[in-house]
């Protein structure tokens, strides 16, 4: 079926009614959501205004682009980027649109096809579709020349918008099954990283583009103009050039994509509505390999509490989605910032300390990472000595990853900049910073613990945001202050005459300083942990 753009034009008996009902449902959900709190209302209005301003600017820019030789390349790329955005959006905000979730409509006596139609129309209501509409219209303005092109342009805008919306719906429906299973939710948490890391790459790409002009886009655009929904806009350009055959083919590609998406969506919706929820099915995992007790590399860990805690911490880095996401973000940003800056020639070798700093953050809120399972730890800590062993083991587990990683990043940055003489002092600074982060991290873990909600994307439970900020920012400032002696010596050796000959001393100096500060931090954190176990447990059990 091809989706009708206007709800009233459908003649199927129950459909117009259903379309109107679903659109009204969407509007009420939106209104009620905003009624809940003034903060949410303000946020919605602000984001709407921002979006409109952004859309207006884009529109102006696109209109100004009219007549530019490479206009079509940019326009096609822009539409493609929007389409990707539409495809990715439901993965990040599965609960963002409640009309999106057909499992909520399962109990109603509805057939899939009218429902698909109604939901498609309902999804055209909102800020996102409006922004997309304006961008598509602007794109057509930028490339349309002649009456025929304008006519095709109107068709292209409608087609493009419907493809975007249907794409989002199809992806969402396909993923609801995934999102209702444990594995799927784990994946969704991890997907937050894609943004964090992706932004760095986009930033890098834009900088390159800025230096070499729009012509750079042409090869990419040559492919994109055949991919829906960008092909609809490509068709407008082709008509302007007089290539009617090409234009027809491009339009057909978009129309076919729309039909395909709607069919796929209807299919997965039917499956969703007639088969049990993924969460009630047993996760059919193959019986894991028979391992007994400690095996593999775990055997190399020390015995007693230290090895036990290290093993658990390291397992959680890999298995717990929240912990894993935090680690991967830290590892990625700790690498990207110094290395990309070095690649662009703008970097300082001191950026290499970024890796140590980013990874040191993982020592913060150690007990919050345990969630309320911290009670199992609390039940076994009965003295300051136990608390010290627990904290030291967690710091050791962290060092097992951090120490080689920070060293590797520092060496890589140095190699890229070719400044080998500075390697010892930068490494020394990194180690001192890492030590200071571990020390302040251990102390704030005991003093300012807060919950990390396990569901969704938030990393702080409601009401504890202030606490989290105090812990992380206060801790980072203190860590910087703790490093001050090492930084002072570095500066002094660099500015004083003949000091360069002695900068190698900063490597052992920084290492010893970092280790000393860490031990001191653990010593101070241990009695606090031991005496505040119930308070820590109640702080990390919220949400």
């Amino acid at each position: 079926m091809s989706a009708p753009a206007a709800p009233a034009s459908t003649t199927a008996a129950p459909a117009p009614d259903l379309v109107a009902t679903v659109v009204r449902l969407k509007l009420s959900l939106l209104r009620n959501g905003l009624r809940q709190s003034s903060g949410r209302r303000a946020a919605y209005v602000a984001s709407a205004v921002l979006t409109l301003v952004f859309a207006a600017l884009l529109l102006l820019g696109l209109v100004a682009l009219r007549g530019h030789a490479h206009a079509v390349s940019l326009v096609v790329l822009l539409v493609a980027v929007f389409a990707v955005g539409w495809a990715v959006m439901p993965l990040f905000f599965p609960g963002g649109d409640e009309t999106l979730d057909p499992t909520r409509l399962v109990m109603l006596p509805l057939r899939p096809l009218p429902l698909v139609r109604a939901l498609l129309v309902a999804s055209l209501v909102g800020i996102g579709p409006l922004l997309t509409l304006l961008v598509l219209a602007g794109s057509v303005v930028a490339v349309a020349h002649g009456a025929a092109a304008w006519t095709v342009g109107v068709l292209a805008v409608a087609l493009g918008l419907l493809v975007c919306v249907a794409l989002a719906r199809a992806v969402a429906a396909a993923n609801i099954r995934l999102l209702t299973s444990r594995k799927g939710r784990d994946l969704a948490v991890l997907s937050g990283l894609v943004i964090a890391v992706g932004v760095q790459f986009v930033n890098f790409g834009v900088q390159r583009l800025g230096s070499s002009g729009l012509g750079e886009l042409d090869p990419t655009a040559a492919v994109l103009r055949w991919l829906p929904p960008a092909s609809a806009v490509g068709a407008v350009h082709s008509v302007s050039e007089g290539d009617y055959g090409v234009a027809a083919a491009q339009l057909a590609v978009s129309a076919a994509a729309l039909a395909l998406l709607v069919t796929a969506w209807a299919r997965s919706m039917t499956r969703l509505m007639t088969s049990p929820d993924g969460s009630t099915l047993q996760a059919a995992e193959p019986a894991a390999q028979k391992r007994r007790g400690r095996a593999g590399p775990a055997r190399l860990l020390p015995g007693g509490r230290t090895g036990t805690v290290m093993e658990r911490s390291l397992r959680y880095v890999w298995r717990d989605p929240k912990t894993k996401a935090a680690w991967v973000t830290s590892l990625a940003i700790g690498l990207i910032v110094p290395v990309f800056n070095a690649l662009q020639g703008t970097g300082s070798i001191y950026f290499a300390c970024f890796a140590a700093g980013m990874l040191g953050i993982q020592m913060y809120n150690q007990f919050g990472q345990d969630t309320s399972a911290f009670w199992m730890v609390a039940m076994t800590i009965s003295s300051t000595r136990d608390a010290y062993d627990e904290l030291r083991a967690r710091a050791l587990a962290l060092l097992l990853i951090t120490l080689p990683y920070a060293t590797a990043v520092t060496v890589l940055t140095t190699a890229l900049l070719g400044d080998w003489a500075k390697l010892p002092e930068v490494l020394g600074l990194s180690l001192a910073l890492l030590g200071a982060m571990l020390a302040t991290g251990a102390w704030t873990s005991a003093r300012f613990p807060y919950s990390i909600p396990q569901e969704g994307y938030k990393n702080v439970a409601p009401g504890q945001a202030g606490l989290a900020w105090i812990a992380v920012f206060g801790g980072m400032v203190s860590a910087a202050l703790l490093c001050a002696p090492v930084i002072a010596v570095t500066i002094w050796l660099n500015v004083s005459e003949g000091g360069d000959a002695w900068t190698w001393l900063l490597l052992p100096g920084g290492a010893v300083y970092g280790a000393g500060v860490t031990l001191l931090g653990l010593r101070l954190a241990a009695p606090r942990t031991a005496s505040r176990l119930p308070e820590i447990l109640s702080a990390v059990s919220k949400g």
Partner: protein, 255 residues
């Protein structure tokens, strides 16, 4: 012999008084039930007795040692299965037991031996390599019980151990607990299911609105009432609440 001695125990959460001055002596070597409706303060009391929640006032002694002043002696002698708190769910069942046992300082080989036996008895051997996050409620309670028993404690505190547990798992848990008390250890568990408490316990404390309403052997608490359920309803004053006269349309014969 008393295993747990509670004196003048208080806990407030803001305006609400959750536990309002409890005095209680629990005999050792018995299967003890702490019963009461939802919100009576059972979980709060058990959390304070086991050292997971700091009381506003009052003292708790377990096997002769103060919970707050002498945690070294107490924590080694008790096993706990709390309600509403997570486990380290990203470990498999076996890894969780191995972690828990080693954290308590038991030798590794002994932990592995006991874990294998507990997993077998609790019918979890088939799921021992599955992550706890994928366990059902009954399996979670069973692995939690295994972790609480691993270090062979003198007193076991279980908060709602049968809540949401299927009959087969419940029977297994019962069997393990009966074997455990038969050897002289003490089990203290909370529940709001009277039939269960009546069939399992030989000593009962009835709690309502943050206070102990009655305590003693099952016979003493039951008194002249035909069942613990009746005795309990009389104690908390919930008798004679009849819903029959309203809802007269309710019968399932259409709209």
């Amino acid at each position: 012999m008393t295993s747990v001695r509670v004196r003048n125990l208080w806990k407030r959460f803001g305006q609400q008084v959750a536990v309002a001055g409890i005095d209680l002596d629990l005999p050792s070597g018995k299967f003890i039930g702490l019963v009461g409706p939802n919100g009576a303060g059972k979980t709060t009391t058990l959390s304070m007795v086991t050292g997971l929640l700091r009381p506003d006032q009052g003292s708790v002694e377990v096997v002769g040692h103060d919970v707050w002043r002498d945690p070294v002696e107490v924590k080694a002698r008790i096993g706990v299965l709390p309600e509403g708190l997570r486990l380290f769910e990203r470990l498999s069942g076996r890894e969780l037991l191995s972690y828990s046992g080693r954290l308590r300082g038991l030798p590794g080989a002994e932990v592995d031996k006991r874990a294998t036996q507990l997993l077998d008895v609790l019918d979890l051997a088939g799921a021992q390599h599955k992550l706890v996050v994928d366990y059902s409620t009954g399996m979670r309670k069973k692995i939690g019980l295994a972790a609480a028993l691993l270090h062979n404690p003198e007193v076991l505190f279980l908060d709602e151990p049968f809540e949401g547990v299927d009959p087969v798992s419940a029977q297994i848990i019962r069997g393990v607990l009966e074997r455990y008390t038969a050897s002289g250890a003490t089990v203290v568990f909370s529940s709001h299911v009277m039939e269960l408490v009546e069939s399992l316990c030989d000593w009962v404390a009835v709690m309502a609105a943050g206070r102990i309403r009655a305590h003693g052997t099952l016979e003493e608490v039951r008194g002249a009432a035909p069942s613990l359920q009746r005795a309990f309803l009389e104690l908390v004053g919930a008798q004679g609440r009849d819903t029959g006269s309203d809802l007269d349309w309710l019968g399932g014969a259409g709209r």
